[in-house]
Each structure stands twice: as C-alpha cells, then as structure tokens.
C-alpha cells in the first residue's frame, strides 16, 4: 500500500515532466534567441531549434555554427540540468509526503489489501482496453486522412473511376500528370490475384484437410500437419522473393515456349505463390471443422452402406460446410491484405484486366508505393494511400466479422 502510494504519483509526475520539459525549455530558448531569428516563419524556426538540439546531442550538422545557436545550446544544456535537478527534488518530496500521509492513514480498520487490489484491477482493465483503443486508433487515423483525401477527390470518382495514375503535377504548368484516382483497376487486380490464390489453396487445402482428418494414420498426421503449417510460418517476404526470383521467370519461360507472352510480373505468379502461402490456413481451419463433425453422423452413413468417400462427400462435408466457408472467407481476407508477395512479385501498372498473365497491381502494392519514401501529409498522393487503407480495412473487417460469425454459429451447433 505504502509502496504503491509512493510510486504512482511520483511516476505520474516524472512522465508529465518529461513530456513537457522539452517544449518549455524550447520556449525559453526561443525567447532568448536574437530578434531576427525569432521572427522567422515557424518551419524555419524549427530548423534553427533542431540545430540547437543537434549541437547539444553532439552531432554538429552545420560547418559554421551561428554564435546565437551556440549560446542557445549552452543555455539548453543548463536548463535541462536544472530541470532534472528540480524533477529529482520534486519526486523525492512527493514520495516522502505521500509516505507520511499514508502512514497516518494506516489503522487496523483499513482494508489495505482490498484497496490495492482495486487499483491493480483497474490497471488490468486498462491493459485489456488497448485492443479497443487500437481499433479506434486505426479507424480514426485512417478515416481522418481518408476524409481529407475525399475533400480533394470526389469519393464517387475514387470508387468507380477506372484510371489510376497517382502522380500529381509538381509544378502548376506541368502537363499530362494531373493525377487520377479511380481505384477500380486496383480492386480488380486485388480480386484477380486473390481469386488465383484461392484456386490454388482451396482445393489443395481442403483435400489435405480431408486426408489428414479422415484417412491419414495418426502417426503420419502428427508430423505431416506441423510440416504443412511451416508454410504459414515462413515470412511473406520470403515468398515474395521466391515469386520474383523463381516463379515469375519460370512462368515467363513456359509461356514463351508455348507462344504466350507472360509478363514477368504477372498476376499468375503472385497469385500462385500467395495460394501456396494460404494452403495451411485453409487446411487447418477445414481440419478443425471436419473434426468437429460428430462421429455419430459418420456412423450413421456407414451403417447405410456408404463408403468412406461417400460418407465424407455427402455427410461430413455437408455438415461442415458452414465452418469451411467461414474458414475460406478468413483466407480470402488474408489474401486481400497480403502485402509483401504482391509488392515484390506483382506489377505497379494499374491495368484493368482479367487476364492472369498480364501485370496487375493491388491495393496493398499502391499503399506501399505511395507511402515509402519522403512524403508530406497534404498531397492527395499520400492521402490516397489512407483512402485505400480505409477500403482495405473495411473490406477485411467485414469479411472477418462475417467469417467469425459463421464459424461461431457452426461451433455452437455441435457443442
């Protein structure tokens, strides 16, 4: 109890102090700078202040350091020393004061344990709300920037426009790159690649789940299942490298040998590799769902003379269908949100096509392309990434909610 009362207020003071210390010291220093410097516009002033801070930290940026900056730096160091000293004294005083205060409160009637536990419980509650705050943070930050984007670009143009070229003119008189933000090619590209991935992963994942759950010897199952799941543990950047290095050129070579012109960054290459990555998601979810089907259903089918495969196809899979659909939806949302594979193996050109051997681009590729590198937060180019992020978040969220709902309903059915 005493320890807690001693520590909590003191920690709070330290945190507040450290947060505000820098701002206050900077204010003081700015006031001391020469008149000419002080009247500079805000961003130039911050450059000067940065110089001061660099000087304090010991990395000299400019060759010739202005005398006023040097003076400010010494002042900064001095003030920071004072501030730390003051902080130490204040914290000590507070700690001692609270100790004395709490001491006087301690009586045989005090339910100290209950009080402490109340506080601990509140702290635990705070930790558990971080998940909620994360969601709120995502929604607010992404939606806020997206709103700014939609204030510049008409949302209808964004959702239904068919031409995507986010390069904005740097100078006003520049021709030909006014920037257009029609996101349909991106949505189509994402859908195409996800579709190819699903064509690979759903049959393979489903069949391996059926085999492992219904046919495989337990011995085989114990090592085959984890081995398949290794596919899910491989970092996606490795798949991206694999797709770009091996699958892309190989597909191009095969295409040439049968007279097809396969783009080296084709949707097919990215989709294939993404499909491989998703196999374990589908198979382990389907495995769970198949195992959840009660044995009595199978026994009933066997008793009617059905073979094993007939039982599986006509009884088990039908009973497990909602769960499997839920699992596939989760896998789809995974495919839509997958970034590294498409960044490395799919193209940048926003083609509106359903031809899998052409290069397409996806929502995630564009987010990465728009945001990597230098950026400022007021150009539509940067803000477009947040609008795309909002779409991505909403679509995957909807898929997840739907899938989790289906899976939960399905689980309840057999519990």
């Amino acid at each position: 109890m005493t320890a807690m009362w001693c520590a909590l207020p003191a920690l709070g003071v330290i945190a507040l102090w450290l947060i505000f210390q820098d701002a206050i010291i900077l204010k003081l220093i700015t006031a001391q700078l020469p008149e000419g410097v002080r009247s500079l516009p805000a961003d130039e002033l911050s450059l000067v202040l940065n110089d001061v801070r660099n000087l304090v930290a010991g990395n000299v940026t400019a060759e010739v350091v202005d005398e006023s900056v040097r003076a400010a730096a010494t002042e900064y160091t001095r003030l920071r020393g004072i501030s730390h000293m003051a902080l130490t004294v204040l914290v000590m005083v507070m700690a001692i004061a609270t100790v004395l205060f709490v001491r006087s409160r301690i009586t045989p009637d005090l339910r100290a344990r209950n009080r402490v536990e109340q506080v601990v419980e509140w702290m635990l509650l705070a930790c558990s709300t971080i998940a909620v705050f994360t969601t709120i943070g995502i929604v607010l930050s992404v939606a806020f920037e997206a709103m700014r984007f939609f204030a510049i670009i008409n949302p209808l143009d964004f959702v239904f426009g068919t031409s995507w070229s986010p390069q904005m003119a740097i100078r006003a008189d520049q021709i030909g790159s006014s920037g257009s933000f029609g996101a349909v090619p991106l949505f189509a590209g994402t859908a195409l690649i996800s579709l190819i991935a699903m064509f690979i992963s759903v049959p393979i994942g489903l069949y391996s789940a059926i085999y492992l759950a219904e046919y495989a010897h337990p011995h085989f199952r114990t090592w085959a299942k984890p081995l398949l799941e290794v596919l899910a543990g491989v970092p996606t950047v490795v798949y991206g490298f694999f797709a770009a290095l091996t699958i892309g050129p190989a597909l191009r070579g095969w295409g040439e040998s049968i007279g097809l012109d396969v783009a080296s960054e084709s949707a097919l290459a990215a989709g294939l590799v993404m499909g491989i990555m998703i196999i374990p998601f589908v198979s382990s979810l389907a495995d769970d769902m198949i195992s959840a089907v009660p044995q009595s259903l199978r026994d009933g089918a066997y008793a009617l003379g059905a073979t094993r495969s007939e039982t599986i196809k006509q009884v088990v899979l039908r009973a497990a269908l909602p769960g499997i659909v839920g699992g596939v939806l989760l896998a789809v949302s995974r495919a839509i949100g997958e970034t590294m594979i498409v960044v490395m193996a799919a193209g940048l050109a926003a083609n509106l096509t359903i031809n899998p051997i052409e290069a397409v681009t996806t929502v995630t590729v564009q987010i990465v392309t728009l945001l990597v590198g230098d950026q400022e937060f007021d150009s539509p180019k940067t803000l477009a990434a947040f609008a795309l992020g909002l779409v991505l978040f909403l679509v995957t969220l909807a898929l997840n909610v739907l899938a989790l709902h289906i899976v939960r309903k399905y689980r309840e059915q057999y519990e």
């Binding site: 994360t134 806020f144 069949y207 290794v230 543990g233 490298f241 947040f386 991505l392 997840n400």
Partner: protein
C-alpha cells in the same frame, strides 16, 4: 420401394448390379483418397522446393572470393609527408597501393585500360580494409606482407559458377584477359573461396561483396526486444483481466470481438496506424526500432492475449477455489497460483507471436524502416532496418551478387524462426499438463 412398372430383378441380377456398382464405388473411393494424399504431398513439395531454392541460392553468401596479393605499404603513397597522423593515413590513396600490388603480380600488363581491368579483379572496397589495417597499426608502412583481399563481385560470381565463359565477351561481366589472370591466380591457389565474415559482421552496402546483415540483425533484435517488453506484460494483463476478473457484459464482449478482429486485420493497416499516429501525430522519429516495436506490439497483442487466455482457461477452477478457500485474495490467487501454472502456455503463445513479429515487414515499410543504413544501430531511436526488410531491399537491387545475399539473409532469418518455434514446441511439450 416396389416399382410396379419394372419387372422385379432376380437375385442373381441384383448381385451383378451391386457388384458392378461396388467396383465403381471402390474406384471412386481410391481416387478420392489419392486426391487427398496428392494434396498433402503437393503442399510438402512446395515447401521442399521453396527451401531448396532458397538454400541453393543462399549457401554461397556465406563464402566469398579472396585474392592473395603481396601488398607493399609504400610510404610514398600512404604517407608521403611522414606525419603518421591518423587523418593523413585515412586520406591516403589505398587504391594505388592495390594497383601497385596487382601490377607487381602481373608485370607484363601494359597500358591504362589493361591496368584498370586488372585492378577491377579486386573489390573497390578492399582499399578500406587496407586503410583500417594501416590506421590501427602504422608500423606496417614501408613493410611488405601477403594479404588476402576481397575480390570483386564479378570474380566472386565466376568462382561460384554463375558466369558462363562461353558467352560472347560483351555479355559477361569478365573479359578474356581477366579470365586469363584469374586462371593464373587459380593455378597458384592465390584466389580462393573463404568463409564470409563480412556478411555476418557488417552493415548494408551498395556493393554486394561488402554487404552484411549485422545491422539488420541488431535492428531486428532491438525491435523484437522492445516488442517483447511492451507486449508481454500488456498481453498477459489483458488476458488475466478478461479471464479472471471481468464479468461477462457488453463491454467485455466488445473487447473480445475487438481482439478477435484485430488478429485478422492486415498488417499493413497497422503500419498506416503507426505512420498516422506515432510518427505524424506524436512526432516520434521515423525508421526507429522504437516506433517499429510499438507497431509490432499492437500487431502481436491479439495473438498473445488469445494464447494467454487459452492457457488461463486450462488451469482448473479447483486450484482457484482452494486458494480462495485458504483466504487468499483474488489477486493473490492469480499471481501466486494461476499465473505460474499458466506461464508455459503464455510463453509459448508469446514466442509464436514474436516469431510472427520477426518475419513481419509490411508495417515496417510504412514507418520508414526501409532506408539504406550502413551503420549498426546503437539505440532504440537510431535509424535501423530489420532482417525481413533487408531481404526486401536487397531483392530490389539489380546486381546479380545480391540474389545470393538475399537468400543468405533469408537463411539467417529462417534459422532464427526455427530456433524460436522449436523453443515454443519444447516448452509446450515439457510443461504441458493434463489435469
């Protein structure tokens, strides 16, 4: 089931009919089973092929070509004024030292163009090695020693068998005369593949023969350590609250749904959050492990919370009842009895979450951990990069030599992942308890 329109089948006919259909059905059965097996085999074949490609490409990254040269530390080149000052030693033209050594090795090479071709056998960065040697030991000046020098990218590729000699001269990185010199060096065993210490101990570089992963490893380590420090306590606290304290009501339902959904949000969205909130709003430094760790914490929290809750659920209620019955408070029950019993499960979940965080790169691209960084990061606010992002950066480089480095970095990354996952499996096996 009597069908009046058809004449009744005799027993024999029925038997024949059933026999035929049985054969057909058994065939279908076997076919179905074969599909299943081939699906499993296909999955594993992909896995094996993936690993084969990575390893066959990457194993070369751990060896590099070096050339043995008689280096004469000529005082006239290194320190013509004889000051022995560090600045002068650093500024000297070590490329000239190497050129002289090469010319001494092949005295019959004449002309500027030929000399330039000859010096190109040695990496352009070999001069830095000499510089470092001389600066740390100025007594070398004026002496002569046999020194293994880093060979250039092209020679390295040739020694590893990636250069076709049969190609026309303008389509390969090495010229005919360069081949002749290499052959001569090889005959005297003055060029050899050696263990690549550079790759494991240095930071990034524009030159493939000089590029290393140590900077990325340190960046990954700092980021991961911070992620662990942030996410483990928060995750465990959240799980304890939800499992042990929370009454079931709307609020806790909301938290639960939230956690489950967050687990399936694309990681790049977390990167957007990090960019908009941590960097743009709070003004934290870009490219820093601190911000990376904060983003990864949010990313791994759902995994840790879900695993920890499962571990807490597995602790039988009788333990709690016994503790409460002995007069322990709720917190005491949890901290003294429930948590220690659930700890192995929680740790397993945390390690798995950390393994996922280690392989994650998309959100880190968003917060700018993609810069070209040569220095090894020293703190959590230094610019840094992490292993998967390093892989991404190298895979973008056009030089052929980087393909090998990329695969090599992937091998290191996979090795870390294997170690972490094995630890998790062993933990689970050793401490798994059935009540």
């Amino acid at each position: 089931m009597s069908n009046t329109n058809k004449p009744r089948l005799t027993a024999k006919e029925t038997q024949a009919l059933v026999g035929r259909s049985i054969r057909r059905r058994y065939w279908a059965e076997r076919r179905f089973r074969a599909y299943g097996l081939s699906a499993v085999v296909a999955g594993m074949a992909f896995l094996v092929y993936l690993f084969f490609v990575i390893f066959s490409n990457g194993i070369g990254a751990f060896r590099q070509t070096q050339i043995l040269l008689d280096v004469y530390y000529d005082p006239a080149i290194i320190d013509p004024l004889g000051t022995r000052k560090v600045e002068d030693l650093q500024a000297a033209d070590y490329q000239a030292v190497i050129r002289a050594a090469m010319k001494a090795r092949f005295p019959d090479v004449e002309g500027r163009a030929a000399t330039r071709e000859l010096t190109r056998l040695v990496s352009g960065s070999a001069s830095f090695d000499l510089q470092r040697r001389v600066v740390s030991d100025p007594d070398l000046i004026g002496r002569r020693e046999s020194q293994w020098l880093l060979a250039s990218d092209a020679v390295d590729l040739f020694m590893k068998g990636h250069v076709e000699r049969a190609l026309p001269e303008n389509q390969r990185p090495l010229s005919d005369s360069q081949f002749a010199w290499i052959d001569e060096l090889r005959a005297e065993q003055a060029v050899a593949l050696k263990f690549n210490k550079t790759f494991l101990t240095t930071g990034d570089s524009r030159e493939p023969e000089r590029a290393g992963i140590w900077g990325a490893v340190v960046g990954s380590f700092l980021t991961l350590l911070l992620t662990l420090l942030l996410s483990f306590p928060i995750g465990v606290a959240a799980a304890v609250y939800l499992e042990e304290f929370a009454r079931r009501n709307r609020w806790t339902d909301l938290i639960e749904v939230n956690i489950n959904n967050l687990a399936a949000v694309p990681s790049i969205v977390f990167g957007l959050l990090g960019l908009a909130v941590f960097i743009a709003f709070f003004g934290l430094p870009r490219s820093a492990p601190l911000v990376g760790a904060m983003v990864l914490t949010l990313l791994t929290l759902p995994t840790i919370i879900i695993a920890s809750r499962a571990a807490l659920k597995a602790v039988p209620p009788s333990i709690r009842e016994a503790a409460l019955g002995m007069g322990a408070s709720k917190i005491q029950t949890v901290t003294h009895h429930v948590l220690p019993l659930a700890m192995p499960g929680m740790l397993t979940g945390t390690i798995i979450g950390m393994a996922r965080a280690l392989g994650e790169s998309a959100p880190l691209l968003m917060i700018g951990m993609v810069a070209f960084i040569v220095d090894i990061p020293k703190g959590i606010t230094d610019s840094a990069t992490v292993l998967p992002v390093q892989v991404f950066l190298w895979s973008d480089s056009p030089e052929r030599g980087f393909v090998e480095k990329t695969s090599g970095a992937i091998i290191v990354l996979l090795a870390f992942l294997v170690v972490m996952n094995t630890t998790a499996v062993i933990l689970r096996k050793r401490f798994e308890r059935r009540w």
